[in-house]
Amino acid sequence: MSATAREPLFSAKNKKLLSDPLNDNNPVTIQVLGICSALAVTVQMKGALVMSLAVIIVTMLGNVVISSMRNVIPPRIRIIVQLVVVAALVIIVDQVLKAFVYDVWKQIGVFVGLIITNCIIMGRLEAFALSNKPWPSALDGIGNGLGYGIILMITAFFKELFGSGKLFGIQIIPDSFYEFGYENIGLMLLPPSSLVIVAIIIWVQKARNPKLIEAH
């Protein structure tokens, strides 16, 4: 097959771009990128969902934009160019969220702005978009955004369920439990609990796949 021949949109290679970050190459638990927001916006699932969507959109669009400009960006100033592109995208996302889901926007507040410095995005731009065509870059962006989103949702699930007995703001743990003396774990609403939950996710993931275990 010549280099110019079109490969199918969802070839095996492209599917791998999409699925790898969900599992063995997860941006949060394995590459340890983008932790700040992953830990901070997980008190409620709603906030976590909105944040994940925002990150997926920004990684995808950022990857596409940088990838289509990759031949004209001078290497010396590429960081600034990337920052400006990402910042512009984040401003758009921020304004959209402010307009349509104001209460969630208020809750996750500054963390939307911090998507700009989310290492996942910069990392993917540097490592992938600068050397690949727009379509694979888009898939790579979606894949990594999803990998990030999954960790966010799992963490938020446990935090909201045990911290306030709710999921997406709807009460899950029935009143009869509380009458028996069940209580919400206040610790789950505090910042340190997300670290421990993510650590447990890492533990499970690496225990299932021993080749990911780090040497000292």
Binding site: T29, V32, L33, G34, I35, C36, S37, A38, L39, A40, I79, I80, L83, V84, A87, A88, V90, I91, D94, Q95, G109, V110, G113, L114, I116, T117, N118, C119, M122, L190, P191, P192, S193, S194, L195, V196, V198, A199, I202, W203, V204, Q205, K206, A207, P210, I213, E214, A215, H216
Partner: protein
């Protein structure tokens, strides 16, 4: 005294790492030895101490609603707040670049020590996060903003040095395979975060 209060609050109660997880990426990546941790921590204090006042002035005289009033009455209603992300990050990236050039020129020894960390700092969430919190807190003058910046940097410095010290020690312990490295760093940070909640009065 008032300035010290802001400093103390930023460094301990609202600690960048333990309460907001700002700058976790470099915190986890560069905390393997105390020496490098001190280098990066010092660089963060310095950069926050410089960029927060600059961003404060930018916010107070250009971006905030009504901030352009000094140009004339017809500018009083303009609110450029939506531009703050891009302006802050531009200021941060250029100051970091500038600092890097100055340090390289005037103190090659310090540059050797900080060199690799400085470019990393431009994309450290702690710096942009500090600027965004500064905007939210609405300080009344540059002095307050500066003490906030230095305080936040100091809190970050303490956090990374502490975790580096613990990680240096834990190398000799028998940690279960799957949590070795990053996993353990997470759990340790969580435990330290619990301790730091003490400053809040829990």
């Amino acid at each position: 005294m008032h300035y010290f209060e802001i400093f103390y609050r930023a460094a301990f109660i609202d600690n960048m790492i333990f309460t907001f997880f700002f700058g976790m990426c470099s915190y986890l990546a560069v905390s393997k030895t105390v020496k490098t941790a001190v280098g990066l921590g010092a660089a963060v204090i310095f950069v926050l101490g410089v960029t927060i006042p600059v961003n404060y002035l930018l916010n107070a005289y250009v971006l905030k609603e009504g901030a352009l009033a000094w140009l004339g009455t017809e500018f009083e209603t303009i609110d450029l707040g939506f531009l703050s992300f891009i302006m802050f990050i531009a200021v941060i990236a250029s100051i970091v670049q500038l600092v890097e050039m100055l340090v390289e020129k005037f103190s090659p020894a310090l540059y050797g020590a900080l060199g690799i960390f400085l470019p990393l700092i431009a994309v450290n969430c702690a710096i942009l996060g500090g600027a965004l919190f500064m905007q939210q807190k609405d300080f009344s003058n540059v002095g307050e903003a500066t003490s906030y910046g230095i305080g936040a940097g100091f809190g970050w410095f303490i956090a990374i040095v502490l975790i580096a010290a613990i990680r240096e020690r834990i190398k000799y312990s028998h940690v279960p395979g799957p949590v070795r490295g990053v996993g353990m760093a997470f759990i340790l940070t969580g435990l330290m975060g619990l301790a730091f909640l003490g400053f809040l009065g829990f």
